[in-house]
């Protein structure tokens, strides 16, 4: 009888302990955390190089998934070696597909560190798979081309983006013309580029 009462006491104590500690544990791990107007840099597991910066209005963390609104991915060029070259693109909006080559060049003039930008209305980021997914309209912008579509899957490690439907692409004349045999002056040797990346 005494033994049974002792067992019940320990079970109740453990349950109370669990009830008291679980919310605290959530706060400690950030499992229920939410962020507003954030910038989240992501680094390569292999070499520690800065791969991209994820911006957004809100982020709600549920386990391995982060639900994002107005996410924006700034994919950093491999050649970037100086952390001071990186500027915040938190307030940048996608330009329309109708922009001319000149307007696009002006847009990218002060964004030397960036290879491309991906904009969406909402998305979810899987921290385990390191993948960003969304069903909303998506806008991809780079110096060479612009893409609008609906729904996307972006693999961080492979630098791979799949646009699911309604794709419309604009390739700017410069990207096309550079290849033409008669275009421009003779090729110049590329300057040696430093690949050392400052680690966080």
């Amino acid at each position: 009888m005494v033994k049974t009462a002792g067992k019940i006491f320990w079970i109740v104590l453990l349950m109370l302990g669990a009830a008291v500690h679980l919310p605290g544990a959530d706060d400690m791990t950030g499992a229920a955390a939410s962020l507003k107007h954030f910038a989240l840099p992501e680094y390569s597991r292999a070499n520690g190089r800065l791969q991209f910066i994820l911006y957004g209005e809100t982020a709600r963390n549920l386990g391995a998934l982060v639900f994002l609104t107005q996410p924006k991915v700034d994919i950093v060029r491999n050649e970037v070696s100086n952390i001071l070259d990186i500027v915040s693109l938190a307030n940048v909006l996608p330009y329309p597909l109708t922009w001319t080559q000149g307007q696009v060049e002006d847009f990218w003039k002060d964004k030397k560190h960036s290879q491309a930008l991906i904009f969406a209305d909402s998305a979810e980021y899987d921290k385990n798979l390191r993948m960003l997914r969304g069903d909303s309209p998506v806008h991809y912008r780079s110096r060479e081309m612009s893409v609008d579509g609906v729904g996307f899957d972006a693999d961080q490690d492979r630098k791979f983006v799949h646009v699911r439907s309604k794709v419309r692409v604009v390739i700017y004349p410069d990207a096309r013309r550079r290849s033409a045999p008669s275009a421009g002056p003779e090729p110049k040797k590329d300057q040696e580029q430093k690949t050392n990346q400052e680690k966080k």
Binding site: I75, Q101, E105, D106, W108, K109, D110, K112, Q115, A116, Y140, S142, R143, E144, M145, V147, G149, R158, K159, F160, V161, H162, V163, R164, S165, K166, V167, R168, V169, V170, I171, Y172, P173, D174, A175, R176, R177, R178, S179, A180, P181, S182, A183, G184, P185, E186, P187, K188, D190
Partner: protein
């Protein structure tokens, strides 16, 4: 014996004549050559592509368009099931803008385009030798556009059509700038006459 030799020589001459005729006749079609009107203005226009889905492989500089691919280019229109665009580091820069910051950011260039499945390449309303306008089209199972060489290689049952003229071959190579057309194992049909160089 002598008759046999004459027959062989005759066949060889006929084949050579037909080959030269078919290549010459289609070189005059000016398929995929640049139209005379305002070439510069056209080259300033962007290329617009619509498709069902798309893959952007930034690590390998490759873009794949999937399903109902429809390209509207200043030079031509292309339709196919799948298109792979290969990008490469720019080997040369375009004319300097005078803006150092802008010139520093040399982007990538399109080096090769592969069109796969039910490929239709169209040049609309091109003026022919008689001064009349006609549509020019190429059909193939596969087309590979090498931008540096400025050539389009059509394979898998390729056919070139320009007005009443039609050219088939095992493989057709179009040099867009020089307007040269190479046909391998070709059959030409022009204004009711059929010519064969097989």
């Amino acid at each position: 014996m002598t008759g046999n030799v004459y027959r062989k020589i005759g066949t060889a001459l006929l084949t050579a004549c037909l080959l030269s005729f078919s290549v010459e006749s289609f070189a005059q079609l000016q398929l995929f050559s640049s139209p005379s009107k305002n070439k510069k203005e056209k080259s300033d226009e962007p290329t617009i592509i619509n498709s069902d889905a798309m893959d952007i492989d930034m690590a390998n500089d490759k873009v794949t368009l999937l399903g109902n691919v429809d390209v509207q280019d200043p030079e031509m229109g292309i339709k196919c099931r799948k298109m792979i665009i290969f990008l490469g580091k720019s080997s040369k820069k375009t004319a300097s803008t005078g803006d150092a910051a802008r010139d520093e950011q040399s982007g990538k260039e399109v080096v090769r385009i592969e069109c796969i499945g039910d490929v239709v390449i169209t040049r609309n309303q091109v003026e022919n030798a008689n001064g009349t306008k006609e549509n020019q089209q190429a059909f193939a199972g596969k087309a590979v556009y090498e931008l540096k060489e400025d050539s389009i290689t059509l394979t898998e049952d390729p056919v070139l059509v320009s007005g009443p003229n039609r050219l088939r071959g095992e493989r057709i190579i179009l040099h867009t700038k020089t307007e040269r057309v190479l046909v391998f194992k070709g059959v030409a049909r022009t204004k009711g006459k059929m010519l064969n160089n097989q």
